[in-house]
Symmetry: C2
Subunit: 222 residues, 2 copies
DNA sequence: ATAAAAGTGTAACAATTGTTACACTCTCAG
DNA sequence: CTGAGAGTGTAACAATTGTTACACTTTTAT
């Protein structure tokens, strides 16, 4: 495993720590590799360090009490995993983390994070901003889940991803994944999708979606 | 408005800033009062400062795109409001904040927060922990919403609040509020509740609930 | 004390979604 | 090239929840 490039990492990018040659050598951290499709972190595991995904991509998913899977998101390196939870009173991971390919994960002890925060204002600021953005992401998820109809969720999701009416865009999830993401049954999602296609609201070609009638799509949110 | 007591405030309690006499005088902040039932902050408002509820109580609720209200929580002073969002890239409030009684709200500019964080390790640590706990709260809300049946949500919620089987506990929400909290229709919630009472799983007396059969309640989560 | 407002219980019916099943297409590894 | 597995389309039916309506009870304000 070579020298890690953290210049694209959201909590490090604005920080001058990337330029400090001594940074990674000084940092008391360990790096581990995992094979494809490995369950790396379990929901409920103690989170006593900051985990940073330095290579590859993972998916996070929440297991609900009734055993259902609620897909959360796909994370690509470099990015920290659940950085907020290092500091929470009940410091346990809220999600399962599974590797989608071969990955490398860096583990930085909490004390080291504290030291960095106090000595480096840019790092602190970036770390805060990143955590704030994560909170906003969760808020968006809450908003999506709180839309009760499947067509409403789809409208919200498609409008969010569409740049312009009539302009196709790619969705990097298949129908099964989308159904998980929305927390609905797969055939139900397929039904709603095909109805929306028949009504001429959208077009679908494999994973390429096109919003045809933005206005009527918005009305599904009412 | 008298001297504010912040010793019970989660982001200040462990901090020695409370002991610094000069703290509140030095701090460039403003305090405003609001009448009962006032919409203090609108979802989407720019959040360029830290808002701290110093007196009274408020409720936060999220307005979904279809106009429904998704109740989030009731906040009692002293506590900061949406502290994470001061630092987010898109720094807008995620919820509406409405006063439940006469309230006082302190507004501290972002720059002041930054200064405090850098000069006071305890403040920083408390602020981080509090934000982390907020994230965990949102995660729990996500988990609750992802349970699909109303009885399942109720079981989750009641088991979470029950200390012991057969021991009554108080819920500080009425049925209408609970329905909002769950994001379901009020009569549907009432139906599920009365069914659970008839099946002998729980007992209800106004706002006092009792879990009678923990085991069978758990099975509703499956 | 009393009227108004808020909250609750419940019923009939509508609407939406889940379940199950199966045929079909597509993708990818051998 | 080809078979296995993953992903999709769709249909019949079941289950759950929402909607609307109304009578009743409790709380609140004057």
């Amino acid at each position: 495993m070579g020298k890690v490039d953290l210049s694209a990492c959201p909590v490090c990018s604005k920080s001058d720590i990337v330029d400090e040659l001594a940074f990674l050598d000084d940092l008391k951290c360990t790096i581990k590799s995992y094979q494809k499709n490995t369950l790396i972190i379990r929901q409920g595991d103690i989170c006593d360090a900051l985990y940073v995904l330095t290579l590859g991509s993972v998916k996070t998913e929440m297991i609900t009490e009734n055993g259902n899977i609620l897909g959360i998101e796909i994370i690509k390196a470099p990015r920290p995993l659940a950085p907020a939870f290092v500091f929470s009173d009940n410091n346990r991971f809220p999600v399962n983390v599974t590797s989608l390919e071969e990955v490398e994960i860096m583990k930085i002890p909490k004390a080291e994070i504290m030291r960095l925060m106090m000595t480096n204002q840019n790092f602190m600021s970036s770390f805060m901003t990143h955590n704030a953005n994560r909170t906003q992401f969760l808020t968006n998820r809450l908003q999506l889940l709180s839309i009760k109809t499947i067509k409403g969720k789809l409208a919200h999701f498609l409008l969010e991803n569409s740049l312009e009416e009539g302009k196709p865009f790619e969705i990097n999830r298949n129908q099964t994944g989308l159904a998980d993401f929305f927390g609905v049954a797969r055939p139900s999602l397929a039904r709603s999708l095909s109805e929306m296609v028949q009504e001429g609201l959208i077009q679908i070609n494999k994973k390429e979606y096109t919003v045809l009638k933005t206005k009527q799509l918005r009305e599904l949110l009412v």
